[in-house]
């Protein structure tokens, strides 16, 4: 078992004092960010990237910090779902359905504890899945040539809108905008400037960190400015009686089968391109409802209705790391942001990552295990602490978010030009969210554009300009087929799935897990 011995090496790395501290810090920050409505895993991680980068953390520790934030945010999202009936982030949406009714019955503490345990089970099993599945996927990825990689990138973009995508034209538009932005700057292969309009600052291209922080974090500030005074803009404290925080064993054991089933389901949803944690928790909830809800108690405060989506979304979060690490192609917003961090550190994810930087990969995976235990400990006894955080009103939180975004970007480049660019991206993000254009494809386009073009041109150089080489191998034909099906399918079945998911949804739901 190669994977297990590599994992043991990873534990040796993760157990250093510095890494343990970073994991703890990440879990803490992540839980807080997840709990706060308006800050989710993707914009939470986005704000921290420039910081991790300017602090000069090496690759391994930086990734440990950020994935701990990612897992932490997945745990934290449930807190405001249960207590305030406002999902802290999009994947926690389904948790409101049974979590809030439980809280209304005075069982908030039980709901929080149970969801903490389910989050742990989901994330723990998914991390095991990552250990075994990622190396397998790497074996397949080693067969990929430039043509196959190009097809894989197309597949990632085609499926990114997701099965529940509302408008595939807008998803394609978003991807094209992102890819277009990535072509700005000096062409890496021939050295000619493209779309720079004589502006020296643009010769290096547009830094994807600037784009990410602007699109994800600043656009959130504008959304809050827009909604000021409406129920969403003001933090209404509501009643915060937690009740007992140690659930009776019977409650947990009754939910174990639910947790196990939904963890598997969530993990699969996370690994598949275009699904992600939001769909993972939705699938988990609806399948569980169909399977065990004989007395029609789901939706009225059934504990299993709390366990299912939480195990599902945390498992999906782990699953989404598989394609990101093994193929270098992320399937969700937050993993795209994590990929940005790796690229900023000059590490190219994909099969070579497992060969060249095994310390980073396995240290990271080991840190996920450790982080999980930390989160479990943090989220059950200390949950009262996190509920206090919810009392910070957005009118104070949002300026902090904006200012930390500025600090992070300024710390990297020290140039006002980048800050202006970030503000422009913030406005663009706001407009696109109003028009219901998803932001994740934009980010992914900015991130992957250069690699996608490089692979295309490498493939063409090998085939000496013969474009049919893109469809020459069986592997690439399979990838193209999945891409086409993945793009067309949502147009056919999307409306149906959306209707079921439409129970509650933000108007500006374009930022996904």
């Amino acid at each position: 078992m190669d994977a297990l011995s590599s994992l043991a090496d990873g534990f040796v790395i993760a157990f250093s004092l510095e890494n343990l501290f970073l994991a703890l810090l990440g879990c803490l920050l992540g839980t807080i960010m997840g709990a706060l409505p308006g800050l989710g895993p993707s914009n939470g991680v986005a704000i921290l990237i420039p910081l991790a980068f300017t602090l000069g953390l090496p690759a391994g520790p930086a990734m440990i910090l950020l994935v701990s934030v990612y897992y932490g945010a997945m745990y934290g999202g449930r807190i405001s779902s249960i207590l305030l009936n406002i999902p802290g982030d999009e994947p926690a949406l389904m948790t409101t359905l049974d979590g809030y009714p439980m809280a209304q019955q005075g069982r908030a503490g039980e709901a929080l504890a149970l969801s903490g345990v389910s989050s742990f089970v989901g994330a723990f099993l998914a991390t095991w899945g990552l250990v075994f599945l990622a190396p397998l996927l790497v074996q397949i990825a080693l067969l990929f040539g430039p043509a196959e990689y190009f097809a894989l990138f197309v597949l990632a973009f085609a499926t990114l809108g997701g099965i529940a995508s509302r408008n595939q034209a807008k998803a394609a538009f978003a991807a094209a905008v992102g890819l277009g932005i990535s072509t700005v700057g000096v062409d890496g292969q021939t050295g000619v400037p493209r779309f720079t309009f004589g502006e020296v600052h643009l010769y290096d291209g547009i830094d994807f960190l600037v784009a990410i922080v602007g699109l994800f974090a600043l656009s959130e500030v504008f959304i809050f400015l827009e909604h000021r005074g409406e129920e969403r803009g003001d933090g209404k404290p509501g009643k915060m009686e937690i009740g007992r925080i140690v659930p009776p064993w019977g409650l947990i054991s009754g939910c174990i089968p639910t947790m196990l089933r939904t963890s598997v389901l969530g993990f699969v949803a996370g690994v598949l391109p275009g699904a992600g944690a939001s769909l993972g928790s939705f699938l988990a909830y609806s399948t569980e409802k169909r399977m065990v809800d004989r007395k029609a108690t789901f939706g009225t405060g059934d504990p299993r209705g709390v366990a299912a989506p939480e195990a599902g979304n945390n498992a999906a979060a782990g699953g989404a790391l598989v394609p990101m690490l093994a193929l270098g192609v992320p399937g969700s917003g937050t993993t795209a942001v994590l990929l940005a961090m790796l690229l900023a550190l000059n590490i190219t994810p994909g099969p070579l990552l497992f060969q060249n930087n095994p310390d980073v990969v396995w240290g990271l995976i080991a840190a996920l295990f450790i982080g999980n235990f930390m989160l479990l400990l943090m989220n059950i006894p200390l949950v009262g602490l996190f509920t206090r955080v919810l009392l910070v009103p957005p009118r104070i939180l949002m300026p902090i978010v904006a200012m930390i975004s500025f600090v992070g970007i300024y710390g990297i480049s020290g140039s006002s030009f980048d800050l202006l660019m970030m503000v422009a991206f913030g406005v663009m993000g706001w407009v696109l969210r109003k028009l219901d254009v998803p932001l994740v494809p934009v980010i992914l386009g900015v991130l992957l554009g250069n690699m996608m073009e490089a692979n295309l041109r490498r493939a063409m150089t090998i085939s000496d300009g013969d474009w049919t080489a893109l469809f020459a191998s069986p592997l690439s034909i399979i990838l193209w087929t999945i891409a086409v099906v993945g793009f067309v399918l949502p147009i056919l079945v999307g409306p149906m799935i959306r209707r079921r998911m439409a129970m509650r949804r933000d108007e500006e739901g374009a930022v996904q897990d």
């Binding site: 072509t183 028009l435 295309l456």
Partner: protein, 143 residues
């Protein structure tokens, strides 16, 4: 209507993008694809998707009233001014002013806005400059 305008702008952008792509100068180093083809492909995807949005628009989004739009515009102006003035006046002052403004517009009372702005600015300075040692913009006063 919004989507039709949006699609129209997207289409114009696509045409402009493709036109600019054809103007990219070629270098003496070259490969079978060259620097122009990939942007042109993207421009075509951009144009086609904009066309679909133009022809089959979604239901109208909920736009804020003119006053709120103005509010957002002012916030953008403050952020632009912040970006421009940051190296001139230094981190602490610029940040205190900008965050006081933002929290005021988000509904804090004027007096508390000043307190909040100063606290945010000093708080970030302490955490990021003094504890973490990040380089922030230095003004004439040294902070």
């Amino acid at each position: 209507m919004s989507d039709r305008v949006f699609g129209g702008i997207g289409l114009a952008l696509a045409v402009f993008f493709i036109w600019q792509a054809t103007l990219i100068e070629l270098s003496f180093i070259t490969d079978p694809v060259g620097p122009r083809i990939f942007p042109i492909i993207i421009g075509i995807v951009l144009g086609l998707s904009s066309l679909v949005v133009l022809l089959r628009p979604d239901p109208e989004p909920h736009w804020p009233a003119a006053r709120r739009l103005f509010e957002i515009a002012v916030a953008v102006a403050v952020m632009v001014a912040y970006a421009e003035l940051l190296p001139e006046v230094g981190f602490v002052i610029a940040t205190a002013v900008a965050s006081a403004f933002l929290t005021w517009r988000l509904g804090t009372t004027p007096l508390w806005s000043v307190v909040t702005g100063v606290s945010i600015s000093v708080g970030i300075y302490v955490v990021f400059r003094l504890i973490l040692g990040l380089s922030l913009a230095r003004g004439p006063l040294g902070f």
